[in-house]
C-alpha cells in the first residue's frame, strides 16, 4: 500500500501535528507520553499497524489544533525515537521537527526502580536518565544505575 494511501486512512488535518513512523503498536504509549487523552477536546486520529516500506509496519497519530513543544518531543523520543513529526498549518507542512534523543534525558520521567533515592518526591535534584544504548533503547538512572523498564517509564512521566 502506498504512503499516500496510508495517510488517507484518516482525513488531512488543517492545523496541528502529524506524528508518523511510530513503531507498530506504540501509538497508545505515545498518546500516554504526550498526555493526550480524554481530558482534551482536540480531535485526535490514530492509525495502527499500517504497512511501511521502511519499518514493515507503523502507527500514525494526527492531533488537530495543537503543535508539539520541545519538551513533548523529548518525551516522544523515549518511545518513538525515529518518528517523524510535521507541524501542519492550513493543510500544508509548515515545519518538520527533529526528534533528538540526547545522551541524557532530564526531568522527563522518574526512575522506575522502587528503592532509588529519587522515589522521595521531595528530593529536589533533577531526574536524570542516561541513554546507554540507542537500538534497542536502553536507559539507566544516573543515581541508582538501574536499567529502566521502558514501558514502565510511561507511567513515571513527570
Amino acid at each position: 500500500m502506498s504512503q499516500e494511501a496510508n495517510m488517507r486512512r484518516v482525513t488531512a488535518i488543517r492545523n496541528g501535528t502529524v506524528i508518523d513512523h511510530i513503531p507498530s503498536g506504540k501509538a497508545l504509549s505515545v498518546l500516554k507520553m504526550l498526555g493526550i487523552g480524554g481530558n482534551m477536546f482536540n480531535p485526535v486520529s490514530l492509525v495502527m499497524n499500517v504497512p511501511s516500506k521502511k519499518m514493515g509496519g507503523k502507527d500514525i497519530i494526527k492531533v488537530e489544533d495543537r503543535e508539539l513543544t520541545q519538551n513533548e518531543l523529548d518525551r516522544l523520543a523515549l518511545v518513538a525515537p525515529d518518528a517523524s513529526v510535521a507541524i501542519i498549518r492550513a493543510y500544508s507542512v509548515a515545519e518538520k521537527l527533529e526528534i533528538n534523543l540526547t545522551d541524557e534525558v532530564i526531568n522527563v520521567a522518574r526512575c522506575t526502580f522502587s528503592n532509588c533515592i529519587t522515589t522521595n518526591h521531595r528530593e529536589p535534584l533533577p531526574h536524570r536518565l542516561m541513554v546507554t544504548n540507542r537500538d534497542p533503547l536502553e536507559l539507566r538512572c544516573r543515581y541508582c544505575g538501574k536499567t529502566q523498564d521502558i514501558e514502565g517509564l510511561v507511567d513515571n512521566l513527570l
Binding site: C111, F113, N115, C116, I117, T118, T119, N120, R122, E123, P124, L125, C141, R142, Y143, C144, G145, K146, T147
Partner: protein, 316 residues
C-alpha cells in the same frame, strides 16, 4: 566534586596507585607511626543505616592521620526523622566537613549526594548498590596475600544475589584478569545482569552450587553470610545454608597460600576451627579497611603520601 561512588570511578592504574599508598601507610594504621597527613581535616560520617566496621574504620583512618570526625549519630534522633531531604542534609554537612563517608538504605543515594555536595563523597554502601571502599580493602587484602591481582582463581560463595560486596568485587576482579567462580544456592545466584556483564568483559565465569569442590583450585575463597530471612522457613535455611559452611577439616586439599575472606559479620558460615589455620584472612581483611580508607581519603583530598613514611612520621 569527584568522589568514589562505584569502582568505575577509578581506573586500574588509579586502583594500583591507591593500593601502593595503602601499603606505605600500614605502620600508621597499626599505630606504630604518627603521620598527621590529614591534620585539620574533618570527615563527616553519615551512616543512615547501621554499620560497625565501615563506620569505625573510616573514623579510625581519619584519626590515625591526625584529622577529626563528626558523626550524624543515630538517625532516629537526627533531622532525617523530621523529614529532611538527603539534599538538605548534604548541604549542611558539606559546610561542616572536608570529606563525607556515607551509607544509605536507598540505591543511588551516594551519587545523589555527590551531585549535591562540594566536598568529595565516599560511598560506604547504598542499598543493594555499590560499596567501593570495601572492594578496595578486599583488593588490598588479596594483593598482600598473593603479591598480585592478576590471573587468580577467586571463588565467591554464599549469598551472591543480595550481597553488594560481591557485586562490586567481582567486577573489579574481572578488570584484573581473575577467574571467578560463583558458588551459591540456586535461589541466591549472582544476578544474571552481572554475570552477563562480566562475560561481556571477557571474563570466564563459572557458576556452581558445590563450594567444597572448588577448594583445591582456589587462590581466594570469599565467603558471605546467608541470611535466614531469605528463606521461607528455618528447615529450608538449614538445608541450603549447610552446604556453604567451611570447617578446618574441609581445607585439607587447599593450596597452602589460599586465603579465606569474609566481609564480616560471620554467623555460621566459617567455623571457628578455621580461625587458627594459615588460610584465615578475615580479621586482617577487617583491619585493612582502615589502611585502604586512609589511602582513599588522602587520594581524594590530594594529599601525597611521602615515599619514606618512616622518615616523615614520628615513631610511637
Amino acid at each position: 566534586m569527584p568522589g568514589i561512588i562505584t569502582m568505575d570511578d577509578l581506573t586500574n592504574e588509579e586502583i594500583i596507585s591507591i593500593l601502593d599508598d595503602a601499603e606505605k601507610l600500614l605502620p600508621v594504621a597499626r599505630g606504630e607511626l604518627y603521620l598527621p597527613l590529614l591534620q585539620g581535616r574533618i570527615l563527616g560520617n553519615l551512616f543512615f543505616e547501621p554499620s560497625t566496621r565501615t563506620r569505625m574504620s573510616f573514623e579510625t583512618a581519619m584519626k590515625r592521620l591526625g584529622g577529626d570526625v563528626v558523626n550524624l549519630g543515630d538517625v532516629k534522633s537526627s533531622s532525617v526523622v523530621k523529614g529532611e531531604t538527603l539534599f538538605d542534609t548534604i548541604q549542611m554537612v558539606d559546610g561542616y566537613t572536608d570529606i563525607i563517608a556515607m551509607r544509605h538504605p536507598r540505591q543511588g543515594a551516594a551519587q545523589y549526594a555527590s551531585d549535591s555536595a562540594s566536598v568529595p563523597i565516599l560511598n560506604g554502601g547504598d542499598g543493594a548498590g555499590h560499596h567501593p571502599t570495601q572492594t578496595m580493602l578486599d583488593l588490598f587484602t588479596i594483593r598482600r596475600a598473593h603479591g598480585t591481582l592478576e590471573g587468580l582463581n577467586v571463588v565467591l560463595a554464599g549469598d551472591l544475589r543480595f550481597g553488594r560486596t560481591v557485586h562490586s568485587l567481582s567486577h573489579a576482579l574481572v578488570r584484573f584478569g581473575c577467574n571467578v567462580t560463583f558458588a551459591s544456592p540456586d535461589s541466591l545466584r549472582m544476578p544474571e545482569e552481572i554475570v552477563n556483564d562480566l562475560r561481556l568483559h571477557g571474563a570466564e565465569v563459572v557458576e556452581t552450587t558445590e563450594l567444597l569442590d572448588q577448594i583445591p583450585s582456589a587462590d581466594v575463597i570469599y565467603m558471605t553470610r546467608i541470611q535466614k530471612e531469605r528463606f521461607p522457613d528455618e528447615d529450608e535455611y538449614n538445608r541450603v545454608a549447610g552446604a556453604y559452611k567451611l570447617h578446618a577439616r574441609d581445607l585439607d586439599g587447599a593450596k597452602s597460600e589460599m586465603i579465606i575472606m569474609h566481609p564480616l559479620p560471620r554467623v555460621e558460615e566459617i567455623h571457628p576451627s578455621v580461625d587458627s589455620t594459615r588460610h584465615a584472612c578475615y580479621f586482617e581483611q577487617a583491619f585493612n579497611g582502615v589502611v585502604a580508607r586512609m589511602a582513599l581519603m588522602c587520594w581524594l583530598l590530594e594529599v601525597k603520601i611521602p615515599e619514606d613514611v618512616n622518615e616523615a612520621g614520628v615513631p610511637l
